[in-house]
Amino acid sequence: MTATATQTPPPAAPRAAGGKGGRTRLSVPVILLIVAAAIIVVSAVRAIAGADDVTSSGQIAGALTGAVPIALAGLGGLWSERAGVVNIGLEGMMILGTFFGAWAGWSLNPWMGVLAGVLGGMAGGLLHAIVTVTFGVDQIIAGVAINILAAGVTAYLAKRIFNVGKAATEGGTPKQSPPIEDIKSFTVPGLSHWLSTLEKHHWFLISDLAGIVGGLVTNISSLTLLAVVLFVATFFVLWRTSFGLRLRSCGENPVAAESLGVNVYLYKYVAVTVSGGLAGLGGVFLAIGTHFYLEGQTSGRGYIGLAAMIFGNWRPGGLAMGAGLFGYADSLQLRSGSDSVHALLLLLAVLLLAMAIWKYVRKAYVSAGFALGFAVLLAVWYATTDTVADEIVQASPYVATLLVMGLSAQRLRMPKADGLPYRKGQGG
């Protein structure tokens, strides 16, 4: 654990195959093409299986609602880990966000709630920064400790605050805050209605598109918009400004950053505190979405945010996709999408078939065989049943995450000094 973050350079072995050594980043047109192809396949499956909820606006809206808190927690993780601090305390910071957000949201107004929740999360982040950056404690352990502390403190405060006086008469209990007012939400006038009409026809592709777009433009909470803005802003700040360059350098090689006059402690502190604030915002989103603080409300979303971030390869775009995937699966299971999941079996079979062909072309015969085998199994499963068991639906978000991680984890690369302790003046 005394190891510092300096390494001697690894050998840059000659690349024999692959020419320039394609670190292929997908270009925008390619991404659009992939998205288009995906939608076509999904709507074909939807039409064949007759599972209209797969692309219904309600399902998409549910997915969005489920994705935002996870995405915000993940974005928090991204800030922190890009600066080299693993933040498993996101869950605790989210809890702080739900509590303080609900408190101020109830006693003042929802926007003050947002502010208070963010500040609460930031306080958690600051504590994490003090413990890991200043005291140099193992980051995972510190995160676990913060989760325990946050749960304990909020439970105590909730009892002291929500169960007495005005709060109690307005509906507060030891485990629940009094209700919070709604925060403003937006609907694109006209468009939403037109889309929902289109959607009802269940036309191939058109209704699917209408459902997806409809879900994304109807009744969108201002917090969701805020989250989108924060994603764009994060990308811009971290990858297009010198502040971001410095911050990322602290996660890649803090000793090098230090040697160029970057105040590594400062950047780590800022990053981890912002990280807490974002997780706190995720918590506020939950509290305002349900209009209450509820004990245990976050139920592991902080951890899942972390998973989404890793899934997204420590990048905002990938993270958004990971969170979206989880939100979608979660929404499916909550909306009791037994039919939908059944239809997705077919989709999965098609995807596996495509993968089998791809692997075959690339001469990876064993993987191709496996993919083909699973595709056939799934297709048989689909053909011989009408629905799938509730439990499979319930498990789908978790299984999907495991599967996707299993398929992609080896291509991931985390910031090089992520998780390593760093002490000023000890490097080199």
């Binding site: 309600g58 489920g66 007495v164 030891p174 485990k175 979405g289 349900t290 245990g296």
Partner: protein
């Protein structure tokens, strides 16, 4: 009654006074209440039990002690809670919630001179008052109301956890719907199979409700404790849709005040009545009420709320159904 916090009545003796003596005196100490998770102030059945206590307290001036369960407790925690109340001499000791079933069995044996009350479950012991509520009957009436009020012909039921207790709600509701209008389509969903989180997960309930609403369901009955708040909110967000509350009259719930105009009615479980009865029997009549005591429509142990007057147009049919149940003409099944 929410002005009292759990600090109330703490003037009573310390727990260490008579820890290993069996059997409390019963005369000096008041009632020992052991609440389920959430405790006093939960706007649900714990609160209802507390109301029963408060009522008795107002009349008899008792010196009571209230303890509350925490999330993720084990059997031994519950045993210890009841034990400490009985050991300190509180009598009767009321256990609120079926989770206390086994614990009451254990502790009642150890303190034969103390009377125990158990809400929502049955323990066969000479000093236990098992208070069970025929929630299938009130749910039946809720089903009648739902069938009569739906315009789309689709109603829904959301249960917190798929267990026997919630099954009674499900069964009664389904039967009520079917008996009233066989053409009405019922969707039943549970939040969790076994995870008790189902009573405390408003987010999931909201999503479930939204899913139902999207499919055209316009009356949703949610028997899922605190989770119900989430479903009621979603229902309130859709005009013309109705929510049916559970356990207490949720129309009156301050936490739901904003949505009360969408709360058609609530299937009420009058735990307060049962608790009050027990306290009175011990403290006033000195003739502890023991055995399995069923609270149903007939003795007003369960009922269908009328606040809001949204049911006035169909009240006659509901009353008729109630009459048939009370008279035994309709047998409501308690298993789905």
């Amino acid at each position: 009654g929410s002005s009292t916090t759990s600090d109330s009545g703490s003037t009573g003796g310390s727990g260490s006074a008579s820890s290993s003596s069996s059997g409390g005196g019963g005369k000096t100490k008041g009632v020992g209440m052991a609440y389920d998770v959430g405790g006093r102030g939960d706007h649900s059945f714990n609160d209802s039990a507390a109301r029963g206590l408060d009522k008795a307290d107002g009349e008899l001036k008792l010196d009571s002690k209230e303890l509350t369960a925490a999330n993720g407790e084990t059997e031994s925690d519950r045993v210890q809670r009841l034990d400490s109340l009985a050991a300190a001499g509180y009598n009767p000791v009321v256990a609120v919630g079926y989770t206390y079933g086994t614990a009451v069995t254990t502790v009642a044996k150890k303190y034969p001179n103390t009377t125990f009350g158990l809400v929502d479950s049955v323990v066969d012991a000479p000093n236990v008052d098992s208070m069970v509520f025929a929630t299938e009957q009130s749910s039946y009436l809720a089903g009648v109301a739902a069938a009569l009020k739906t315009k789309t012909g689709k109603v829904g039921f959301i249960g917190g956890v798929q267990n026997t207790l919630i099954g009674t709600f499900d069964a009664g509701f389904a039967q009520g719907v079917k008996d009233t209008k066989p053409s009405v389509q019922l969707t039943r969903e549970y939040l969790y199979k076994t995870d008790p989180r189902g009573f405390n997960d408003a987010t999931s309930a909201a999503a479930k409700a939204q899913g139902m609403l999207d499919k055209g369901v316009d009356v949703i009955y949610t028997a899922a404790g605190l989770s119900g708040d989430g479903s009621i909110q979603k229902v309130a967000g859709k005009s013309g849709a109705w929510a049916i509350g559970v356990d207490s009259d949720q129309f009156q719930d301050p936490a739901l005040a904003k949505y009360k105009n969408s709360i058609l009615t609530s299937a009420i479980k009058n735990v307060d009545v049962a608790v009050y009865d027990l306290i009175n029997s011990v403290k006033k009549d000195n003739k502890p009420k023991v055995g399995t005591n069923s609270y149903d429509l007939a003795n007003n142990g369960v009922s269908l709320a009328t606040s809001g007057n949204f049911l006035s147009d169909v009240q006659a049919q509901i009353d008729a159904a109630k009459q048939k149940i009370v008279s035994g003409q309709i047998k409501v099944s308690s298993t789905p």
